[in-house]
Symmetry: C2
Subunit: 474 residues, 2 copies
Amino acid sequence: MSLTNATPLEVAKAARVGSRRLAVLSTEERNAALTAIHQALTDGKDEVLAANRQDLDDANRAAAGGTLSQSLVKRLDLGKPGKYEDMLQGILDVRDLEDPINKVTARTLLDDNLTLSRITCPIGVLLIIFEARPEVIANISALAIKSGNAAILKGGRESSHSFAAIASLISKALSSTAVPPDCLQLVQTHDVIADLLKQDSYIDLCIPRGGNKLVRYVKDSTSIPVLGHADGICTTYLRGDYPADKATKIIVDAKVSYPAGCNALEQLLVDEAALTTTLPSIVEALLQKGVSLRCDEDSLSALQSNKALDPHSAALLQPASASDFDTEFLDLVLAIKTVPSLEVAVEHINAHSSHHTDAILTLDATVAKAFLAAVDSSSVYWNTSTRMADGQRYGFGTEVGISTNKIHSRGPVGLEGLTIYKWTIVGDAQVSAEYGAGGRAWKHQKLPVGEDEFVARSEEEREVLRKFRAGKSS
Amino acid sequence: MSLTNATPLEVAKAARVGSRRLAVLSTEERNAALTAIHQALTDGKDEVLAANRQDLDDANRAAAGGTLSQSLVKRLDLGKPGKYEDMLQGILDVRDLEDPINKVTARTLLDDNLTLSRITCPIGVLLIIFEARPEVIANISALAIKSGNAAILKGGRESSHSFAAIASLISKALSSTAVPPDCLQLVQTHDVIADLLKQDSYIDLCIPRGGNKLVRYVKDSTSIPVLGHADGICTTYLRGDYPADKATKIIVDAKVSYPAGCNALEQLLVDEAALTTTLPSIVEALLQKGVSLRCDEDSLSALQSNKALDPHSAALLQPASASDFDTEFLDLVLAIKTVPSLEVAVEHINAHSSHHTDAILTLDATVAKAFLAAVDSSSVYWNTSTRMADGQRYGFGTEVGISTNKIHSRGPVGLEGLTIYKWTIVGDAQVSAEYGAGGRAWKHQKLPVGEDEFVARSEEEREVLRKFRAGKSS
């Protein structure tokens, strides 16, 4: 890793060259690099925290001057109890995940001694653009090395001292490993993002980690594929048959447990049948948690005329405007809309949600299955909270982010989302013109899959790859 | 299907709405639509061929006037023996492939009664832009319906009569099926591509099928993801140990069997050891087939001073310029370069091939495995012809095209490349805040995969989906 002042073109080219050599390292070599990084960051904790305190001092001054938010200051702080240790543990967790590359995911016997295999491999060069959170540099470095990808990391200005300290330790650690140092490039130069986004000859995938504004800017400014999501407008559809206690538990969790999360609930669709039965107690619970409720006309009048609802609570309800159903509040605000049918609920979600995570609450399996089939979102749930949408909760160990893309990787993106595959054929001089009309017939027989038998692993093969990596001849 | 004069925005919106309803059709309903299209095109053969003759007459006039190439005229002709029947058979072949959607490809028990599933689903709305070849409209319609995707098809001007005839038949056929007619939109209005490429709110994936110029224009003009390849610069690396007869067979097939194909060989890298042993007889065979050879300095002088090579042949060899190693000839031209090592061959390929298909010819398994691991291309072969890169040969039944993208789908793209997945969770009121430090532990237990048990398939469930498709309430 180098904290570099090179031009974006030089950075991208160097990462590309490094990526070719990283891609042929063995599982053990990549894992050893993660062990080395973990050790270096363990030994260098005091150094990193001292640098982090410099960032914090600057940020606190900026916050006092009103140019930086307190929540951003909080996200900068690596000294919070357990946070540094979590970062260190995250590196080991990634190391101990199954190797996502060199796996045969399909194999076909095309003809005798002619075998087609689909083998997972790294994507190549990733560009990660992120805002505060200095620990991301360690997470992303670990994910990139584990999946055999080079990564260019562009961090926020606010964490520059922390980044420099972490980068220097990682750089030193990698120098004793098989991972080429150019595989991780840390860029802190100002105003360099626009030029990095032009390097589509060298960069294969861009992952912006930050707010809506950053993601939209990146998507609008590059022809490099972008993985991520701009908005998280999540919806839950409450049917009349679902018990009030379970509905309350789920809706309160989805709205209140972390309102700033992209998987937090922003809209509640309510079946007409629930307006006077289960909705009042759910609304009471939300109001007690300090949630502002913006209700459409039907739900507002039903609630206000309902004697089960405390008059003080009823007075807190606000009328919704149309724009409330296209807004990511990221706050203790919830929009409520009455829907006459499953069909209207699904059409509303497909038109107004951000295709991130949407849920239905019902005891009716027929209705639920239709909802799961018809809602076009990354994650669609039946009787649970939208907050479940998370790589760690899905069992991926860690996540790169959450994608609402319609291609490649959708929903929480783990290591698998950082891989692609290549097709190999191993033959014995069979050629295309031998097959087809009047010639040989294809066998097209599916074979079992598993480890890649063509991954170099004998000592002799490793020697060839070592020479290859070192630029020597074979 | 409608042959439409609507605006690109209207076309894209209508396709999006149609796609939602198509996505929830059953396998049988989608297959029945393909049967109906097959029947309509069988019955309407005379009508289509009459329209095709109008296109051919226009094209022949244009060719005589020098404004259209003869090869394009040939590709227009649906009346060539067997071509119409192949088109018809293609529809049935696609129908009979395994349904690519509603498959569970991963399933995890998160906790008791809390199950995460990854289920394949359609991408949504495809935009297919193609040049001549009127049969593509039938192929793509079949692939789109089979995979549950809506498709907007923009054909070339040269085949407008054929398209209109085919579109009208398909439209009539679909009207008696469950497939909403808006799911296939045929656009022939002039100069509408630029506006279609702006509809990124409604179109999910763009697939240009045509020459380098079309593909580059599309890639540079849209923020919609583009699947395809601009160039097909394929390379074969000949090692000194590989027998001359097998090498000749493979290299002649790769270069000569279809020089205009994107998988045709454009560059031969030759190990120094092969210059005086196997290369001369390979060169003789290529020259006999009329291939022009552009040789680097070392191969040129080795061949010209080699007594095994006929002096007349030696006189036909031409010196290569640097640009010959970055050129897709699409013709009987081959560039030859001498390389001192595996490492140099791999670096040349990674820098100069178009990452489409590259091959090594050798008996040495160690060297071959290192090549397969280190070459960063969609398809990488050992001892066979680059012409093998083809969806039909890979056993996909048919292909949408060949992708050199680094995300989503790489190499020949079959039905699987037209699908993505969604994540579902089915729970019983578990919520996120119950898990983690001090709370419940995740089970994260892998479960077997297979058919989607949540796909609506009881008669009652089908009735709900039928109402949903018809816009009625449940």
